[in-house]
Symmetry: C2
Subunit: 304 residues, 2 copies
């Protein structure tokens, strides 16, 4: 990609093995906040450089290609930049989009392992699922659209420990529903801090915690909140494991084989919050940390 006399030439330089793309959708993800803080030591993510575009998951269209795996007109998803056009030279993180009968924007989020999907997968596997969200609207979504068994608004809870096990009256006859009468078997950790502490106290023996994120801690500038109940790991023989999605790229085709039929058959519902235009990107990204978005936050850069 060259800029000649102020005119952008959207052709690759002779001999380049990269691709030039037009960015269509960019994904807003909580982990991006941590890339704005310089982290000591090795990190799975590189820090952003002031003055350079953010990078993140996105959907784009190939305008020119010097690589045999991609050709002009291909739709791709993977790591691209928050700009109209990008020259991508590291192609390992890119996938060609083969199925366009689902909205293109889905390819920004479908791999984001967001809570709405995790809970629905758990339901499909026969789990009893309780969701936690930050507004009445979201709680209603979890219950009614995604089919979670229960959901609560953590911002209205003064006692999270109690919330996880408390009884609620669910009918005129005061029949009582317990969220976790025997404790929590599996917790998908995306929050950290106080919520994790409350969950630890409510885990079942031999329970499992999959650690995906700790969004409550990303915007804290000094020291993160400490987690105080790790002794529960011992008493309850808890298994806790962190993961990053990159490590599972090799099974992405298998994931699509499972996921696409679910979407087509309406077994998995997916809610997006789409902001229009590159200029709406910063506010959309910032909104994640106060929970302004309802559903997966995506920024539409351009229509095909």
């Amino acid at each position: 990609m060259q800029v000649i006399n102020g005119t952008m030439n959207l052709k690759l330089q002779e001999g380049s093995h990269g691709i030039v793309v037009k960015n269509l959708y960019l994904s807003c993800d909580p982990y991006m906040r941590s890339r704005m803080t310089r982290v000591e030591g090795p990190n799975v993510f590189t820090s952003y450089s002031p003055g350079s575009p953010l990078t993140g998951f996105g959907v784009a269209k190939v305008l020119d290609s010097g690589h045999p795996n991609f050709k002009k007109g291909d739709l791709i998803w993977g790591t691209t930049s928050w700009e109209e056009y990008s020259l991508i030279t590291v192609l390992e993180g890119l996938f060609k989009i083969e199925h366009t009968d689902v909205p293109l924007s889905y390819y920004t989020g479908i791999l984001g392992a967001v809570g709405q999907l995790v809970g629905q997968f758990a339901k499909l596997m026969g789990c009893y699922v309780v969701g936690s969200a930050g507004s009445k609207e979201k709680v209603d979504l979890l219950r009614n659209k995604f089919g979670f068994d229960e959901a609560f608004n953590y911002k209205e809870e003064t006692d999270l420990v109690g919330a996880l096990k408390r009884s609620v009256s669910s009918s005129l006859f005061l029949s009582v529903t317990w969220y976790f009468p025997e404790g929590i078997d599996i917790y998908f950790e995306n929050v950290g801090g106080e919520m994790l502490d409350a969950v630890l106290l409510n885990m079942k023996d031999h329970g499992r915690i999959s650690v995906c994120g700790q969004v409550s801690q990303y915007n804290i500038l000094d020291q993160p909140e400490g987690v105080q109940n790790l002794m529960c790991l011992i008493y309850k023989r808890i298994h806790m494991k962190g993961f990053v999605v990159f490590d599972y790229y090799n099974i992405y085709p298998k994931f699509l084989d499972v996921m696409l039929p679910y979407i087509r058959e309406g077994k998995i519902m997916y809610v997006e919050d789409i902001a229009e235009g590159l200029e709406s990107g910063p506010a959309a990204l910032v909104g994640l940390y106060s929970g302004r978005n309802v559903g997966k936050q995506v920024v539409l850069f351009a229509r095909e």
Copy 2:
């Protein structure tokens, strides 16, 4: 066991299926502190009752038995009480001692999974082992008697994060030894708090943390120190799992098959700190939390 007219009758009552034992050695273990605080919710350990003897691991001799698995004269180890004689009616936690060519006291500690053994096992399996202890004497033991590759005194470190990766000059020629030049593969967690935080920052990708205890937190009466670096679980895909020794009782015979030859052949060294007499028990137990003991703390109640 009956007390008749102030005289103790060390015979079982007719029809009892329990055993009466004379206690020989009692084990002092850090987890006992947590049993002195009433813990909310279910716990793997029952809390101690004021006015009743402590219970804990011990070695004892059977004086009378109403159970077919035990007979008078048998030596046993398992859960007994801090008193001269005990009536034991719950026999699941008891094991008959078959091998008496190692000191009887070893049976109090050999199952305690104490750090001195863990490090030596790791050495036998070919690991590079660095120990952390609270005095020069203990650091010398780790290095010289137990054969750890390195050891440091955590009480002399003002910067634990640095201590784990810092270079030390090891000869006149200033050759440099790094504790963990590529990070820590396996951490045996028995400390908690600040040490765990320092370790998390120094773990290797896909590292493993076996959570046995958090002794630094047991004596804190209000809130435990929070652990702040759990985000490392994600970045480094760390696997963290708590355990309690009871869950592995079924493989105890297999453990002995491995362990006894190691002890006989001097491949595993074992250091004990034996306090004499029931009356020395409380001080011995309390000493654990300031690290007064050198080696596994045992209380000798009576010689066979």
